[in-house]
Amino acid sequence: MLISQEMNNIRNFCIIAHIDHGKSTLADRILELTGVLHTTDNKQVLDSMDLERERGITIKAKSVRIPYKSKNGRDFILNLIDTPGHVDFNYEVSRSLKACEGAVLLVDATQGVEAQTIANAYLAIDAGLEIIPVINKIDLPNAMVDECRKQISDMLGLSGEDALLVSGKSGQGVPELLERVVERVPPPQTDESAPLRCLVFDSYYDSYRGIIPHVRVFSGTLTKGVKIMLKSTGKTFEVDEVGYFTPEILPSARLTAGEVGYLGAIIREVGDIHVGDTIISPDFPDTPAVPGFRKVLPMVFCGIYPISTNDYPKLTMALEKYILNDSSIVYEKETSAALGHGYRLGFLGMLHMDITIERLKREYGQDLIATMPSVIYKVITRRGEKIEELFIDNPSRFPEPNFIEHIEEPMVEARIFVPNDYIGSVMELSEKNRGSLKNMEHPDTRRALLTYEFPLAEIITGYYDRLKSVSRGYASMDYEFTGYKTGPLVKVDILVKENQVDALSYISDKDSAVTKARGLIHKLRKLIPRHLFSIPLQAAIGGKIIAREDIAPVRKDVIAKCYGGDISRKRKLLEKQKEGKKRMKMVGSVEVPQEAFLLLLKMEDEE
């Protein structure tokens, strides 16, 4: 059995941890140590996206194939997946786990177990993976090795005594870690002679070769020329390329059971393949699907609109391609009176939203406006005898106030780790954000673990950032959706020169509605340029105006002296002025700059 011999040499594993605990840095060292890359210049080579570089975080999970000769001279193929740590990209982690038999769980020796350590460890345990605990960053003088060991045992139920001591920065302990991976992580259980069965765990769009699915082969073999069928749609394709990630894609002769790689098959239609699909052989159409991924619940919604209405088809195309690379986004068409045709997108969190919009702008060249984020509200209406329950993710779609019986909002339970010194300020902040304390524990002598119930809306409007700032970055948080709860909520409409701007409507709790509205109107007044006429700005609940400011008409614009007959300069100035207008959205006769549509969000940040 030569084949299964080969199989024995494969180790598929991922690196998981809380954000910033050093996953990508460790991956760098592994790539250097195994000779895949000469040097990584310490720049987290797997974080290849511009945005990842800029923000110093991993956004997409990335796999790379690594040949490795163990101490006793045996050749292995390691398939490593570096995962993101931020809670918003949790879905990347859970998909990566499907392609692995083992997980290296990092704990930053100076931080200890944190919220995402626990969340990710449980994902891996639930997926049945072999977990190798590692205490990382032991080069730092304030490393607390013993405490970390204890936390790994107590809080994760893993063997803390067993944890390896590693520094992803210096490389210390990394050779021992690789030995442990080949020792402990089981080889994939596979059957190469069985019919083809692969799981699509990611994909991207290549303008030459169409959609490129990333696959984990569970059984059978993928080679060039072979026919494949999508289990979900029954569509068939012919494979014209297979290969690995090194981390760039590298064509190879075949991908066999147990391996992770990509395939090309000239799949052009965006709807033809989805992440989570199973690829089988058309000769064996009854091959069962690989259990797909848990469905993710989008938590945060916003509208995106092209700045120029003509660009809607372009936006559609960009979005369809984008989704191939991020299947956690949900989207549907939406039309706004103020902004025209666009899409409503659902995200896993605020960072996810931020990153997506930024990527659409940069990588897909879309000039777009994103509206204020919202959660899904449950609105109970009564029209005569008829009682209805509506789920609404866009405040502008709220029913008339007189039909609303009550409004329920999504609640989350948040677990917040916070060093003792900051407990007071975190509690104060949480109270301000309508949080109610459910529990307080002390996992160790330094920190408290606070359990809070929050309206999700509070979390998405910047609670997380503020939590970081009041705790100087030391608090960590994880949250999950718990259900709906009735809240004292009202819808606030914004009117610009008597025109209601649907994209600016928002839901607020009653107590802070007026304060918020005043703040928003004030910001809006500063943001909308003065026009040739005066512009009243109003905020209203139902028909009742709760805030108003007026933008006075402009009295003087910039007059460039046309000295010495330099007419071109003058004309260019006017052209620039005209160009600037194109970046504005017309609300009636008023030009509103794009920033206005993200205003509420920013306002909360600055509070």
Binding site: L532, D557, K561, G564, S568, L573, Q577, K581
Partner: protein, 368 residues
């Protein structure tokens, strides 16, 4: 009509707001400079001009000899026997009797004096080289020497300026029998000392607007008509050279940073005195040849600055052809329907009260 502009890029010192191309401490290059200008001029041998404008910088710094050399040279090269108008700019700190006499002798009968303000504190705050007294003397001298067409530049919105001080300046200037006033709002141009160090008492846009409208009213009462957004004159004293700019006419600019509009092209010399001295004919830059529809729009925008004259669509049709002004005509019409332009048959005008927001309106006339 064709105009000739000669740039004199020298000043005694730099004013804090100035972004014109002019250099202090370079008068030693004067002789070479005039030779270079004549060398540049020689390319256009025998070209005919109706107006001449010697601007700056500070043209009064060239002195009697400089002016003589320049004018002798120009009259040798160009056909300018019967100029409709010849203007020279002068700053109060460098106006002398000799200079004025020699200008008149050379046929330069219009004088434009950089008065800017008659408040010493205002002048000082922006680093002007003269004071109010010098300005008064300069005007007096010019009138005595026989100038009957004198213009003064006034800046509106100087640091610390209020209506009281502006009113004094304007009342004096009109009272002394000047024929023309150019009144521009102070603009904070990037990379100027003013921009780097904004005075706290700089009037804001709204305050500038207040000053402007009060000034317009006062000048009206003194018999000055506002023939252009920033230009006022007694009847018959419009600046012909500048009118030609606003009519979309041809002109030639000599000297560094000077702009030209010749044979349908607009271009500028590079703003670099040394390069100019080394190669006066090789400085052409930013050459721009617009297509007819754009050209027509540009002309309409320029003409609309002439508040009373406005733009006559039938004139544009004749000049550019009906096909080339369709889009423009539609835009003009749209603006008049929106109440942003006045319409009288084929003639469109800015509403006088929109003079200070003209950019917002005029930019609408540009194509997409």
């Amino acid at each position: 009509m064709r105009g000739l502009y000669v740039h004199i890029p020298f000043c005694v010192q730099k004013c804090s707001y100035c972004d014109f191309y002019s250099l202090p401490n370079r008068l030693n290059s004067l002789k070479a400079y005039i030779e270079a200008v004549l060398q540049e001029a020689a390319q256009y041998d025998q070209l005919r001009f109706e107006t001449l404008y010697i601007g700056g910088g500070t043209p009064s710094l060239v002195g009697v000899n400089g002016l003589n050399d320049l004018m002798t040279g120009l009259t040798g090269i160009f056909r300018i026997p019967k100029l409709v108008e010849a203007t020279i700019e002068a700053n109060p700190e460098s106006i002398s009797q000799d200079f004025l006499q020699s200008a008149l002798k050379q046929g330069i009968k219009r004088l434009s004096i950089g008065v800017q303000s008659l408040s010493d504190t205002e002048l000082q705050k922006v680093g002007r080289a003269h004071n109010a007294c010098q300005a008064v003397q300069a005007i007096d001298l010019a009138q005595k020497e026989g100038f009957r067409n004198i213009s003064a530049d006034v800046i509106l919105g100087l640091p610390g300026q209020n209506w009281q001080s502006l009113m004094t300046t304007l009342e004096c200037l009109t009272g002394w029998g000047l024929q023309h006033l150019s009144m521009y709002c102070l603009a904070v141009e990037p990379h100027t000392p003013l921009a780097a160090n904004l005075p706290g008492d700089l009037p804001c846009d709204d305050e500038q607007a207040d000053l402007y409208w009060q000034a317009v009213e006062l000048l009206g009462q003194r018999g000055f008509k506002q023939y252009e957004i920033s230009n006022f004159c007694l009847p018959g004293y419009e600046c012909q050279h500048n009118l030609n700019y606003w009519h979309g006419g041809e002109y030639l600019g000599l000297g560094p940073a000077a702009a030209s509009h010749y044979k349908g092209c607009r271009y500028k010399n590079k703003p670099d005195l040394d390069a100019y001295l080394a190669d006066p004919c090789g400085q052409k830059d930013e050459v721009e040849k617009l297509r007819k529809p754009e050209k027509a729009a540009e002309e309409a925008i320029l003409r609309l600055r002439l508040l009373q004259e406005g733009v006559d669509l039938s004139g544009l049709i004749q000049k550019y052809g009906e096909n080339n002004i369709m889009a423009l005509a539609a835009r003009l019409n749209q603006l008049s329907m929106k109440g942003r332009l006045l319409r009288d048959g084929f003639i469109y005008r800015l509403k006088p009260e929109d003079a200070l927001v003209s950019n917002t309106i005029l930019s609408e006339l540009l194509g997409d």
